[in-house]
Symmetry: C2
Subunit: 339 residues, 2 copies
């Protein structure tokens, strides 16, 4: 099942040497001249590993600039690590390329990887490149570390904890809507800055790496929001066996998202159920709330208390929503899936 | 870019709970209920990580039984670890599924994973599942460990070392030829057992995990043979900056491969340049040769000394071949690529 490339782009070994090897600066990566990398967590630490795959046409548009695609692919993995309280260390890259992908695409993609590497002081450890007819496909395994025993889990939320979220919610989902409907921005009276902000929030998630220390120090449970606020909150509650009272009034929206919601109230549910936020949901006990808020503020991150975790009660919904002090029921299906 | 599944197969979370979570037995995998796994190498050890992706239609046939595809996907990663002298620990699984992949396929695939897990005492640590139109696509990251500093590299071969290879060469490449030409077996006078042996060697590589300790103890350099003996030897020589004198008379062939070569001499070059052997090439200094041979024998592995590594000499070919004491030149293009 040998497959000779008919692409005009250089072969795998040339691409590795020219574009990927310069990204692999640690001794354990052996300049990508071997089939495996070697590394170890720092003394007193253990590794946290995560894997997120992105497929053209499913998780990004094939026409998206590779410079941004690379940042997104690496960013969503760093977001997972951050939510676990881990400091990022390095990553492996699996790349599936269709024949039409040019050398220029690879060069720009690697420029995007380099930007994120430099931002978070991580490097490429190794990977694999294959032919993938519907590619590009990106399969990243990211490594972080935490002091041993200090990982922050999703399934350890407890009744009585406050529920927090970083940043603002819904921007990416509405950015995607703007992208799919070119007239939406003008129809909704958005400014050019607001439109660009939302489009960028979809294209370029900002992993909340700066939140890792605060999460380790103060959170009893955490996860990043990738499937939508409501769906991911459902995952936290289900795995932790708690319920949540979520105050929709307190869910943080950007000015641009607020403007869209003002123009059409249907965008409200799109914002709280849409995906790709890459903000962090955290459960924090009341006695740690002040410390948590201060630590996030010191890290330069916005953080909002949006609800309270409650003891399980099968006669009540797992997620109880309120708006203006009244119970609120969602119209549409909660959450979305890339699958 | 939400994509609702139109497949009759259960959704991602159901598949994970039903089929993948039972494979994730370590505490650090958290029953796959989190976005990341936690683990650490044993004290005094460091991690060895490798990533190999397999795409339907490129690395295996879409009609291959999923029970075997799983064993192959995991096996080729364990082969990389073994060649580095590493003991396997666990793995992450990225799975890209096309719509037509059934729940039964997933169940059988997981049965194959379980078989390899049990054989080598490893477990699933985590992963990701996405939609992939041309799938199945398998992206595995495998973790092993070595005593710190003991990894066996590809680029550390030195002049004066003997060159060894485990097992037999060419079986998988000829198994693929049998598969692509149903009449070849009868035409060549192969027995049914010989045909089945070669077909199985293509479908089910056997990672030489048992060789890891001997490689750590005695080899100066090693790699597994996946792109073909000649091509991979070329990689070892190029990265190590040595040449090799390879005695083709000493390359080990199975009875089935020998029978095919007897029937048609063209299969000789197919055997030494074909891929998917997943045997191990090792460079061993003469004073360690006896210990190496005995250790591999004790591990139940066949091992053949097939050449000698030489100092670089730009006036000579990097790979000098001999047959019956005379220089031998390859007819065809050496090596193959999945890329």
């Amino acid at each position: 099942m040998s497959e000779k490339s008919v692409s005009s782009r250089p072969g795998e070994f040339s691409l590795i040497e020219r574009y990927f090897a310069p990204l692999a600066t640690s001794a354990g990566a052996a300049h990508l001249q071997d089939d495996a990398a070697v590394f170890a967590p720092d003394p007193g630490c253990e590794l946290v590993v995560t894997k997120d795959m992105l497929m053209a046409g499913v998780h990004f548009f094939k026409t998206d600039p590779p410079f941004e695609v690379a940042q997104k692919a690496l960013g969503v993995n760093l977001s997972d690590l951050a939510a676990k309280g881990a400091e990022p260390k390095g990553y492996l890259l699996g790349l599936g390329l269709s024949k039409d992908i040019s050398e220029e695409w690879v060069a720009e993609f690697c420029r995007g990887l380099k930007l994120v590497q430099d931002q978070f002081q991580i490097d490429l450890l190794g990977g694999d490149t294959i032919s993938c007819p519907d590619g590009p496909l990106l399969s990243i395994t990211a490594f972080g570390q935490v002091p041993t025993g200090k990982v922050v889990r999703r399934n350890t939320a407890v009744a009585g904890a406050h529920l927090y979220v970083t940043g603002t919610i819904g921007d990416a989902a509405l950015g995607l809507k703007l992208r799919l409907d070119e007239e939406l921005s003008a129809k909704s009276g958005l400014s050019a800055e607001q439109r660009d902000f939302l489009l960028k929030r979809y294209l370029l998630p900002e992993p909340r790496v700066e939140a890792a220390q605060a999460l380790r120090d103060y959170a009893v449970a955490a996860m990043d929001v990738s499937d939508g606020l409501i769906a991911d909150l459902g995952h936290m509650c289900a795995t932790s066996k708690v319920r949540v009272q979520l105050r929709l009034d307190d869910v943080p929206f950007s000015a641009a998202t607020s403007a869209l919601i003002m123009a059409d109230a249907a965008f409200f549910e799109a914002a709280i159920t849409g995906g790709d936020d890459y903000e962090i949901l955290a459960a924090v006990m009341p006695q740690d709330a002040h410390g948590f808020e201060e630590a996030l503020q010191a890290a330069g991150l916005q953080c909002s208390r949006i609800g309270e975790l409650l003891a399980p009660d099968t006669s009540e919904p797992a997620i109880a929503l309120s708006l203006n002090g009244k119970a609120y029921a969602l119209d549409g299906a909660a959450g979305f899936t890339h699958f």
